[in-house]
């Protein structure tokens, strides 16, 4: 696949992403350090951090709106530690989430995650209780087990901007 850059269709995405909290994006020199440690890369996403930052710099809006990898960020912060240019890749990734949401381009991954938080209080739900018992681990005490906590979480979601997106389960 190739990508085509034309000045007529270009947007100043560096400014847009900076305004959404990813000020570091203009500093990225594509050294690749962040990608060497990021779980998103290691698990095999197509355009993990630095590649998306390059698309930002080149003004490629379409890829940025549709790519799922920002939603796979586990906020581990490893990229922040290794970045050679003080980009704070994590913040740029989160700015990209905001960018997609603002463009009403909410990836199924994001819907699933929000839906799961609404239903169970967790983005990723731990199901395998049996295995834990086998190893003598205590049961997970989770929001999902407390109706009261779950209600509160749902309230928060409903009163946040997310409710405007129409992706909360009815």
């Amino acid at each position: 696949m190739k990508y085509v850059v034309r000045v007529e269709k270009k947007k100043n995405l560096v400014k847009v992403i900076s305004d959404l909290g990813g000020e570091g994006v203009s500093k990225c020199i594509q050294c690749g350090s962040c990608m060497s440690v990021c779980p998103v890369t290691l698990i095999g996403f197509d355009h993990p951090n630095k590649k998306l930052f390059k698309f930002v710099q080149m003004g490629e809006e379409e890829v940025l709106l549709s790519d799922p990898s920002p939603w796979a960020c586990v906020a581990c912060g490893r990229c922040i530690e290794v970045c050679t240019q003080d980009v704070n890749p994590f913040s740029v990734y989160f700015a990209l989430r905001r960018f997609q949401v603002k463009g009403f381009r909410i990836h199924p991954l994001a819907r699933e995650a929000v839906g799961s938080i609404y239903e169970s209080g967790h983005a990723i739900f731990v199901e395998n209780e049996v295995e834990r018992e086998k190893f003598g681990l205590p049961k997970v005490s989770s929001a999902a087990r407390s109706e009261k906590d779950l209600e509160e979480i749902r309230e928060i979601l409903k009163s946040s901007a997310i409710s405007d997106l129409g992706i909360l389960p009815r």
Partner: protein
């Protein structure tokens, strides 16, 4: 009987890992008077060891088995000299470059070869006679060839040290390429402010004789006293009278115009022209090949109108000081100047490859230009007065792509890196962004090379300014029907091809040695290295010395370099010249032809074959010690009357016999 000392170097592990030094010591211990080895023979303790062996008369001939004599021969000679022995009773067997480095895989054979080389050196050293250096008077003046930043810097430094300098420049003005630039990295300071003051200083320094519009024709003699012949082209304008007003240049008709070299062909100049507004000397020059002979008044003729009034061409008429006189005929040979100098600095600069070589980059399009042309567009003295416009239609481009490594780092053209392109492209891109932030700017690179003070920071800042850096070599450029250009590139960061549509393309074409510098090198005997630039004597130890004693190199004729490096090299060359010429007399190695007058039959063969005109035959052959370069061609004398000192027939025969024996 001579007493030979053999000194074998381990060169750290360079030699000893391959050549069996113990074996050599064992083998030679009965064949010479002293054998010693050392981890580093070029170290002070080893030097002292040799010196004391000689001083205590343990040895009176020295053989060093180490690296190439290129590296440390002088150093070893000094040990002999300090101990009171003729320093030329020394021979070096090169068991590093010629053994361990090339036969690393075959240790036994390398050791055998080392043995032979040492045997040959021993045989030769036995035949050597004590020699004295030749001593010559020194001419305290210097020829600097090339009036760019390198030549000007070197000239000024030498003039300030009290040397008379002849600065020869082939263009009518000094200033070189740099005077064409707007700004220079990494400070983005004004190039003109850097160069103009130097130009003025050169012009006003009484120790510098500025000879512009001239070329070096011939160099004879040798270090300490070169005889130089310079051809000064005919300018057709009496420079004594010309005040550089430019009146003649504006009346010259368009029929006599051609692409202006100073603007890299982006504008036109007339047959009567002044190189640039900042020219030094600011004098007009007439280009007879371009002249249309207004009013049919050919050069070298006079024409009278009816009534007896003399007809004057527009240029003649326009000149307020009557500096133009077309009744003088054209002498294509010009005027020959002769002078003597003690040393020479070659600073002839560079050229960039023509864009036409690169058909794949749509070089036929007027909107594909070289970086040097773009310098002129950026310059306030250029064709657009520094406005960023396309020359083809005078419009401001919406997007510009800069392409690096055009002809560099490419086995089809040059394998070397032109070294400055990354940074000047970044500079040009930054200047575009500063002046016209809405122009989209891309730089396509194989990678960005920005080593050196402040340079990486300069690059990072360019990225932050929003300049698109696209890592990947551009494969082609297509001209679209609407005149725009489509770059077929590759984005290695994303691992995918990229197409960029732009209005102007700037090519960073490779830096080369100009053809006329190559010609000059041929004339004066300088070596051109495989990259095509002038070769320095030793890349690390003698980086400003050429392969000929007394001739030095400065600036891009020796290889691509930026302004800081060029100035550093020019200053180094000036200092090296001064250190050699700052003496009453100079000492020169005595390896020159020596005639045995008894044997000479005066047949004259040697006079005919000597490429340096160093032999004259009268009653017998006589060698001019200053001119003889010791090349040895005359030793083909049928009467065997000529030997090269230090390389006599006896020595060489002894060496060969030991090698093959």
């Amino acid at each position: 009987m001579v007493k030979i000392g053999l000194y074998i170097c381990h060169c750290g592990r360079n030699i000893a890992d391959v050549v069996d030094v113990k074996n050599l010591i064992e083998y030679f211990k009965d064949k010479v008077n002293v054998v010693r080895d050392h981890l580093f023979m070029c170290s002070e303790p080893a030097w002292e060891m040799i010196r004391s062996d000689v001083a205590s008369k343990l040895v009176d001939r020295v053989v060093i088995a180490a690296c190439s004599p290129q590296n440390h021969e002088k150093f070893f000679r000094s040990a002999l000299e300090t101990a009171g022995l003729s320093k030329y009773l020394l021979e070096i067997a090169n068991i590093r470059e010629q053994c361990s480095w090339v036969h690393g895989k075959n240790k036994e054979e390398a050791t055998e070869k080392a043995k032979r080389l040492i045997k040959a050196a021993i045989s030769k050293v036995k035949t050597l006679k004590p020699l004295e250096d030749l001593k010559f008077e020194v001419e305290r003046s210097v020829l600097v060839i090339g009036g760019g930043i390198a030549g000007m810097t070197a000239s000024l430094d030498l003039a300030k040290m009290g040397f008379k300098v002849y600065l020869v420049e082939k263009e009518p003005s000094i200033g070189g390429k740099l005077i064409k630039f707007d700004k220079i990295f990494p400070l983005n300071d004004c190039a003109s402010c850097v160069v103009s003051s130097l130009m003025a200083e050169v012009a006003n320094n009484p120790m510098i004789e500025l000879i512009t519009y001239a070329e070096v024709e011939e160099v004879n003699g040798s270090f300490g006293n070169f005889n130089v012949k310079v051809r000064k082209k005919q300018t057709y304008v009496d420079w004594e009278k010309c005040i550089g007003c430019g009146a003649c240049t504006t009346v010259c008709p368009p029929k006599a115009w051609k692409p202006n070299e100073f603007d890299e062909g982006l504008s036109k100049r007339a047959a009567m022209y002044i190189v640039s507004p900042q020219a030094v000397p600011k004098k007009a020059v007439h280009d007879p090949e371009l002249c249309v002979n207004c009013g049919k008044k050919k050069l070298g003729t006079r024409r009278f109108l009816r009534g007896g009034k003399e007809y004057l061409t527009p240029c003649e008429k326009a000149c307020p000081t009557k500096a133009i006189d077309r009744s003088k005929s054209w002498n294509p040979k010009g005027e020959i100047l002769n002078f003597n100098v003690g040393a020479i600095i070659v600073a002839t600069g560079y050229k960039v490859m023509e864009k036409e070589t690169f058909k794949e980059y749509a070089s036929h399009s007027p909107n594909v230009i070289t970086a040097l042309q773009f310098e002129r567009i950026l310059s306030p003295t250029g064709p657009t007065s520094g406005k960023i416009l396309r020359i083809s239609d005078g419009k401001k481009p919406k997007a510009i792509s800069f392409i690096s490594c055009v002809g560099s780092r490419d086995v089809r053209y040059h394998t070397y890196c032109s070294k400055v392109c990354c940074l000047y492209l970044l500079k040009q891109a930054r200047l575009v962004k500063e002046r016209e932030p809405d122009i989209d700017v891309y730089i396509h690179v194989i990678d960005v090379r920005a080593p050196g003070k402040d340079l990486e920071e300069y690059y990072i800042e360019a990225r932050r300014m929003g300049i698109g850096i696209i890592r990947g070599k551009v494969g082609g450029i297509e001209e679209l029907p609407n005149g725009r250009l489509r770059i077929l590139g590759f984005d290695a960061d994303l691992g995918m091809p990229i197409e960029v549509e732009v209005d102007l393309v700037v090519l960073a074409t490779a830096i080369e040695l100009p053809e006329d510098s190559r010609e000059l090198a041929r004339k004066i005997g300088l070596t051109v290295d495989p990259s095509g630039f002038l070769k320095e004597d030793h890349p690390k130890l003698r980086p400003v010395e050429s392969t000929l004693t007394g001739i030095f190199l400065a600036g891009c004729c020796q290889g691509p370099k930026d302004v800081s490096e060029t100035v550093a090299q020019a200053k180094a060359a000036a200092a090296s010249v001064a250190s050699l010429l700052n003496k009453e007399e100079i000492q020169v190695e005595p390896f020159i032809a020596k005639v045995n007058e008894e044997a000479c039959t005066a047949c004259g063969i040697c006079e005919n074959v000597c490429p340096f005109n160093a032999i004259k035959v009268k009653e017998v052959a006589i060698v001019d010690e200053r001119s003889c370069k010791g090349c040895g061609i005359c030793a083909s004398c049928p009467a065997k009357a000529i030997d090269i000192q230090g390389y006599s027939a006896e020595s060489i025969t002894a060496e060969i016999e030991a090698l093959v024996g």
